[in-house]
C-alpha cells in the first residue's frame, strides 16, 4: 500500500504538484490551429452611435510605435530597443491622428503588447485608453519569450482591430510560415495570421472586419499563399451573406505598378543586393489582381494608376518620403465614392501611412 512514509511516493507527489502548479508557457507560441483572438476593452467606454448610415474604416501599420526611428530590422538603422519616451511620443502621434480622422473601425498591423523593443508597453490598451474606441481584438504574429538575437528579447507583436461597437467574435487564422528559412530561424520567426472580427454594427447583423499582414521578406511563394488564403476567407464570408471590410499591409504592389524594383535604393551600406529581401516585387505585380477583380478597393485601381505617387503608403527609408503602395482596404459592399484618403501627411509616426475610407452601411 502506498504510504506517506514511502520516500519514492512522496517525491513523485512533490514533483507532480510542483509541476502542475505552474502556468507553463511555451518558449515560442506556435499558433498551429485556428483560435480565439485576445479581446480588449477600453478602461472608460464612450457611447457608440446607435444608428449609422456610413462608417469610416481605416488601416494602419503602426510599426510598433517606432515612428521613423532607424530600426535595425527594416531601415538600415542600428537601433533595437526603444525608450519608453520614444514609444509614448509615437503612440501619442498615432492617437492624435486617429482622433483627427475618427475611424469607426481600425485595422492595425505591427502593434506590440509585451515586447522589449517597445519598452513592454501594451499598445492595444494604451490606444484604447487614448482614443474613443471601446473594443479591440488582438492576434499575435510574433510571440516569443526570448529571442536570442540582436538583443530583441521578449516579443509579442500582432494584428489588431479596434471598434466603437462590441466585438462579437474574433478569430485568429494561422497563415503558413516562410518556406525559405532554416529551421532555427523559422522556429523563432513570425507566425502570420488573418484576424477575423465580427462586430456588432447597428442594423447589420453579419458584419466583419478582416485584417491581414502578409509576408514581407519571403523569396518563395509564401506571400502568394497568404494572399490566396486571405482571398478565400473573404470569399467564404461573401458566400455566407456577410458584409466585410478587409485589408491591411499586404506587402505587395498593385497590378500595373510602374516601379517594382527597390533593391538599389533600399540597400544598406555594404549590403549585397542579391541577398536582399522584400525589395523586388517584379514577379508579384499580378498577385492582387484577383482581389481587385472580385471586390471593391478603397482606392480604385484606375485612380491609383493615374497618379501612383499620391497613393504610396510605405517607405523603407527612415528619412525618406513614401515610395510604394503596400496597404489596402477591400469590401464586398460599397465604399462611398471619392471618400478615400491616403494620409501621406502622417510622416512621423510610422513607415506606413494610414488609409481611410467611408463605407456605406447596407439598408
Amino acid at each position: 500500500m502506498t504510504s506517506f512514509k514511502n520516500p519514492r511516493f512522496m517525491i513523485i507527489v512533490w514533483l507532480v504538484v510542483s509541476i502542475t502548479w505552474l502556468r507553463c508557457e511555451p518558449w515560442v507560441e506556435q499558433f498551429e490551429e485556428i483560435g480565439d483572438a485576445v479581446i480588449y476593452t477600453a478602461e472608460q467606454k464612450s457611447a457608440p452611435p446607435s444608428t449609422v448610415e456610413t462608417i469610416t474604416v481605416m488601416t494602419w501599420n503602426i510599426r510598433f510605435g517606432a515612428g521613423r526611428i532607424p530600426w535595425f530590422g527594416d531601415s538600415c538603422g542600428d537601433r533595437v530597443i526603444l525608450t519608453k519616451d520614444e514609444v509614448f511620443t509615437h503612440l501619442q502621434g498615432i492617437a492624435n491622428k486617429i482622433n483627427e480622422i475618427q475611424p469607426d473601425v481600425l485595422i492595425i498591423n505591427e502593434i506590440d503588447i509585451e515586447s522589449k523593443r517597445s519598452a513592454y508597453i501594451d499598445q492595444m490598451q494604451w490606444l484604447l485608453d487614448h482614443t474613443y474606441f471601446n473594443y479591440g481584438a488582438f492576434a499575435s504574429v510574433w510571440k516569443v519569450q526570448f529571442i536570442p538575437s540582436d538583443g530583441l528579447g521578449r516579443m509579442n507583436m500582432g494584428n489588431a482591430v479596434l471598434s466603437r461597437w462590441p466585438i462579437l467574435e474574433a478569430i485568429r487564422i494561422p497563415l503558413p510560415q516562410r518556406g525559405d528559412q532554416d529551421e532555427l530561424t523559422k522556429y523563432f520567426y513570425l507566425r502570420r495570421n488573418i484576424l477575423k472580427v465580427k462586430i456588432d454594427l447597428p442594423n447589420v447583423p453579419n458584419f466583419y472586419a478582416v485584417n491581414v499582414h502578409t509576408s514581407a521578406f519571403a523569396k518563395d511563394d509564401t506571400k502568394m499563399k497568404h494572399i490566396d488564403i486571405f482571398k478565400a476567407e473573404l470569399d467564404e464570408l461573401h458566400e455566407a451573406g456577410a458584409y466585410f471590410v478587409a485589408g491591411g499591409d499586404l506587402n505587395t504592389l498593385p497590378p500595373g505598378a510602374t516601379k517594382t524594383y527597390f533593391c538599389l535604393e533600399d540597400r544598406c551600406f555594404g549590403e549585397d543586393v542579391n541577398e536582399m529581401e522584400g525589395c523586388d516585387f517584379t514577379k508579384e505585380v499580378t498577385w492582387l489582381q484577383d482581389l481587385y477583380d472580385t471586390y471593391q478597393s478603397a482606392v480604385p485601381l484606375d485612380e491609383y494608376l493615374t497618379n501612383e505617387e499620391r497613393y504610396f503608403t510605405n517607405t523603407s527609408h527612415w528619412d525618406g518620403f513614401w515610395q510604394k503602395k503596400l496597404d489596402y482596404l477591400f469590401t464586398n459592399y460599397q465604399w462611398i465614392a471619392g471618400s478615400d484618403s491616403t494620409h501621406q501627411e502622417a510622416t512621423d509616426w510610422s513607415d506606413h501611412t494610414p488609409i481611410s475610407v467611408r463605407w456605406g452601411v447596407p439598408e
Binding site: F72, P148, S149
Partner: protein
C-alpha cells in the same frame, strides 16, 4: 511585498518535509559534497562538476570555490570561512566576487547570440556577495542550512535599463548592478533517501529594495546518486518565479543534472 510571495516558499518547503522525514539516517560525513551548507570540505579535497563550482579545502577553516568555465568570460571566486559553532549550530560566512563585464560584452552583439542590443556598451561592473550560512543536524536524517546574504555592486557608468536580460536566473542575479545592492536568503535541506540515494531541496529569495521588479523566488529539487566519496550524479528541476520588466512569470527548468567528481590530495 505580497504575502503570496512568501507563501510560495513555505508551500514548497512544506512539500519537502514529508519527503525528508521519510528518509533514512544520514550517517555520512557532512563535510563531503557540502557546497550549500556551513560545512567546509576537508583540507586538500577538491570537488568539481560540470555545472557546479569547483571547490577546494584550503585549510580546516577556509574553502575556495569558483565556476571554472565561466571564469573565461566572468571571473569569479568565493571564499567560505568557517566560524566557531554556537549553541550547536555550525556557522560559516561566504564572500564572493564576480566580474561579468566581458561576458555581457560578448553577448551584446548583432545576430544570433545577441542577448543584449549592440547599441549599448556595457561598463565595467563588479559584485561582492557576502552571506552567512548556519547549518544544523536536528536529527541525523535532516541537515538544514539557512543562509542570508547581501550583495553590493559597482559599475563604472550607469547602466541603461534597456540592457537587462529578462530571463529566469539571469535577471535576478544581474539586478544588483542596476540597483547597487540586494538581499538574498534561503534554506537548504538535504539528506539520505535510501542506500546511495540522496536529496537536496532548496529555496532562495532575492530582494532588490531599490528596484520596481524587486522579488524573485527559486526552488530546486535534486535526487543524487552517490557512488562513493569521489563521484556523484544528480538529476532534478528548478522552479523560478520572478518579477521582470514585463510582469511576473513562472518557469520550470528541466532537467537539471550534473556529474561531480572529487579528489583528495
Amino acid at each position: 511585498m505580497k504575502i503570496s510571495k512568501i507563501l510560495i516558499g513555505l508551500v514548497l518547503f512544506m512539500w519537502g518535509i514529508p519527503c525528508i522525514m521519510a528518509g533514512e539516517i544520514n550517517e555520512g560525513d557532512v563535510s563531503l559534497w557540502s557546497s550549500g551548507t556551513a560545512y567546509l570540505l576537508p583540507k586538500d579535497r577538491l570537488e568539481f562538476g560540470i555545472f557546479q563550482p569547483a571547490a577546494y579545502g584550503l585549510s580546516e577553516s577556509l574553502e575556495l570555490s569558483t565556476y571554472v568555465l565561466p571564469n573565461i568570460l566572468m571571473p569569479n571566486l568565493s571564499v567560505k570561512w568557517k566560524h566557531s559553532a554556537i549553541a550547536g549550530y555550525d556557522w560559516a560566512t561566504r564572500h564572493s566576487f564576480y566580474y561579468p563585464t566581458p561576458l555581457l560584452r560578448t553577448v551584446s552583439k548583432k545576430g544570433i547570440g545577441g542577448l543584449i542590443s549592440p547599441e549599448f556598451t556595457m561598463p565595467h561592473m563588479v559584485a561582492f556577495h557576502n552571506e552567512i550560512l548556519v547549518s544544523k543536524r536536528f536529527d541525523p536524517r535532516l541537515l538544514v542550512t539557512a543562509k542570508a546574504g547581501l550583495t553590493f555592486a559597482y559599475t563604472s557608468e550607469d547602466l541603461d535599463e534597456r540592457t537587462t536580460i529578462d530571463l529566469p536566473l539571469i535577471f535576478p542575479r544581474l539586478a544588483v548592478f542596476y540597483n547597487t545592492y540586494n538581499f538574498r536568503m534561503g534554506i537548504d535541506l538535504q539528506g539520505l533517501i535510501v542506500r546511495r540515494w540522496h536529496y537536496v531541496v532548496d529555496s532562495d529569495i532575492f530582494l532588490v529594495p531599490k528596484a520596481e521588479e524587486n522579488f524573485a523566488f527559486e526552488h530546486k529539487g535534486l535526487i543524487i546518486w552517490r557512488k562513493s566519496t569521489r563521484f556523484q550524479m544528480c538529476l532534478g528541476y528548478k522552479l523560478v518565479y520572478a518579477e521582470y520588466p514585463f510582469g511576473t512569470q513562472w518557469h520550470l527548468l528541466l532537467p537539471l543534472f550534473d556529474f561531480q567528481w572529487a579528489r583528495q590530495f
